[in-house]
Symmetry: C2
Subunit: 408 residues, 2 copies
């Protein structure tokens, strides 16, 4: 008699974005004339860079000829892309990596979820709060989260990030085995200073903890001081896995490509207390349960590292950041407290008049026909905040800000 993984029954019924979609659909049905603009889900709107388009056409043409056709690629990705990543995303920051420390994936969501495969179910988990829901949900599914009590999972240590601590999580007093950090942060749009990141690496080294560092938004960093990679910090290769995605860097949410760095110096303990390299475990996991990323998507990713590609993707990032700037200013002008939006495509706003996150969501939808994401959907400390994304097109962004200025 086949049995299910009972941990799935612990998951909360509704997923944040499907919840939002349902409420928006219901509103649209009641108000068919309303022109709803979504500043909710963090999906890109601008077309792919011409350099990327051209590389994809070329890759497709290669697949049409016997002498250039490609079948199975390496499960870890093609070296042409691994090398381009090392040369452009790491070497200029003084970080050296070997090809076999770079694992090409189909986007950060798969790897941040699947990475748990190689780790003990007994590890304790630490998360900043609010947080991208995948980190927690994937741990709930595997049984690592414990039980849900008063909105929190019993085996997860929550590190509140609120206006009260300027969104800087306190370094825990206790030992936590695995800590998820995401900077620039989704959902708050805030960044971490080098000094704060050093404290985390120091903590992890002292406790043999493992940091899961999600750098999916690093391309949005505008200032010179903010670290783009945790490996800019000494010793981080001994305590951190880093996740990257081209979804936001180059508009690849429909193309599906990213990468994960698992340094060879990184170990975790076996039951016998032996230090086991995580690189070889992840390599084995991917060889067994993954068959590599689409060749066409890998060529698309390679193209963003050409001079033309770099220029084009930076122009699109700038476009989104100008949206963010307009949004920040408009929200401030009407007296709102906002964070983020300076080194990240997200703006985090305190809800006015003591409304909770969902109350403001409905208030905004009814008054302005705009959609935001209720902060509480990202965790208990997100209550009383909402997230706006800058990934809209300019016209919608301007229209949305006009409505906020005039109708909210």
């Amino acid at each position: 008699m086949a049995h299910i993984n009972h941990n799935f029954l612990k998951l909360q019924k509704n997923y944040l974005f499907s919840d939002i979609a349902k409420k928006v659909r219901a509103f649209q049905e009641e108000h068919p004339e309303a022109h709803i603009i979504s500043l909710g889900i963090g999906d890109v709107t601008q077309p792919l860079a011409p350099a990327v388009i051209s590389a994809m056409h070329q890759a497709v043409d290669e697949m049409a000829q016997g002498n250039t056709f490609r079948g199975y690629g390496p499960e870890q990705g093609y070296s042409f892309l691994q090398q381009a990543i090392i040369d452009h995303d790491f070497k200029p920051r003084g970080i050296s990596l070997d090809l076999d420390e770079v694992f090409i994936n189909d986007g950060a969501k798969s790897d941040t979820g699947n990475i748990g495969d190689i780790l003990s179910l007994a590890n304790s988990i630490g998360v900043t709060d609010p947080i991208y829901p995948v980190y927690i949900d994937s741990n709930v599914m595997s049984g690592r989260a414990g039980d849900l009590l008063n909105g929190k999972w019993s085996n997860i240590h929550y590190m509140p990030c609120t206006a009260g601590n300027n969104f800087t999580p306190a370094i825990p007093q206790e030992k936590i085995d695995i800590i998820y950090l995401c900077y620039p942060n989704n959902p708050t749009g805030t960044v971490i200073t080098r000094a704060e990141l050093e404290k985390w690496v120091d903590y992890a080294m002292r406790h043999n903890s493992l940091i899961m560092y999600d750098a999916a938004y690093e391309a949005y960093i505008q200032d010179e001081q903010t670290p783009h990679s945790i490996y800019e910090i000494e010793d981080a290769k001994q305590c951190a896995i880093e996740f990257h995605s081209y979804s936001k860097t180059a508009g690849f949410t429909g193309v599906r490509c990213g990468y994960t760095i698992v340094p060879k110096a990184l170990t975790a303990l076996s039951d016998a207390g032996e230090a086991i390299p995580l690189n070889s475990l992840w390599n084995r996991r991917q060889s067994t349960k993954y068959n590599g990323t689409s060749y066409i998507s890998q060529r698309a990713a390679e193209a963003i590292y050409t001079p033309q590609g770099q220029q084009e993707i930076k122009a699109t990032i700038q476009y989104y950041m100008e949206n963010a700037c307009l949004m920040r200013q408009t929200l401030k002008d009407i007296g709102m407290d906002v964070w983020g939006g300076e080194n990240a495509p997200y703006i985090w706003m305190k809800t006015p008049q003591g409304m909770d996150s969902w109350q403001f969501f409905h208030h905004l939808l009814h008054r302005t026909n705009l959609v935001c994401t209720p902060g509480v959907g990202f965790g208990p400390s997100g209550e009383g905040y909402v997230r706006f994304t800058a990934f809209c097109n300019r016209e919608n962004c301007q229209e949305a800000m006009n409505r906020i200025s005039n109708q909210l």
Copy 2:
């Protein structure tokens, strides 16, 4: 202190195909003049169908324009592809499916590995032997396989398929929770009759077992009687998940697209003895840990269902099957015992003169500079057999068969 998943340490060190690659590399270094032809790994060689190429170019062009650009698709896949699958792969066989029973994936390997996420670690496992290694290795990783004793995993029930039983596994006497079946079979190239498949569905219904049915090679079936889908058997929707891949159907090993059917009538038990629909669990798993298949790959897959696409992919399948026919005949002519190759692109051969699988692998490599896959790499009952694939190009196939005729 972070700990690893200790089950990974139970895995055997070497993976079959990397093992083979190493031995072939070593041989090539010793014999730089040798023209080695691989009939080993089951990877396609023929270019993509023109209908597919054209659809991919069009999809790439859509991504270049703001008004046709696509960001995140549904995690479950686009309905245009789900509908094409239902209309072409199932309706003509009298099988009705809803759109939300079809999950688009990036190839069958990911889903056959990841499906374990939704199932209890306490389930017992049954496999035909020999078998595609992913089924077992993914269960070893999660801890479902038990311990390795004398070449077999303690919690896995092996069902030998040898010449002795004409490669027809006996229906088990005991209750097994999850059973993996793959037809047309990788590695033996044999098929299952409708009557035998009915026995499996009957077994699963009696014991509340779950069948994982891997139909990755169904497009190679040539005769009229052999079932293409387990859902051709009554009640199978209540006891089976079915995996499909375009890798072999349309040469997509580098494109990455396939699909998994999880019928809504299919349930497994919770700890409380309640029947839980697996469709909703898998949907939740995919929504949380997967971000959908590349849009371009999904349009590529859609194109194979057009009249032109069908004609083109069938011509390529025919090409490979003519290779298989030539290989079968050549091997028979020199007195070998062979199976498969009639409804599948694989030929399974008994090694001559009492050689074991690896002995024959080396013998073949040294005498003819050809590469086969040692049967024992697929499980204990594969000992004394080797696998040849018909996915080579014609020239290599003919040259290889000449060598076998003249030099073996």
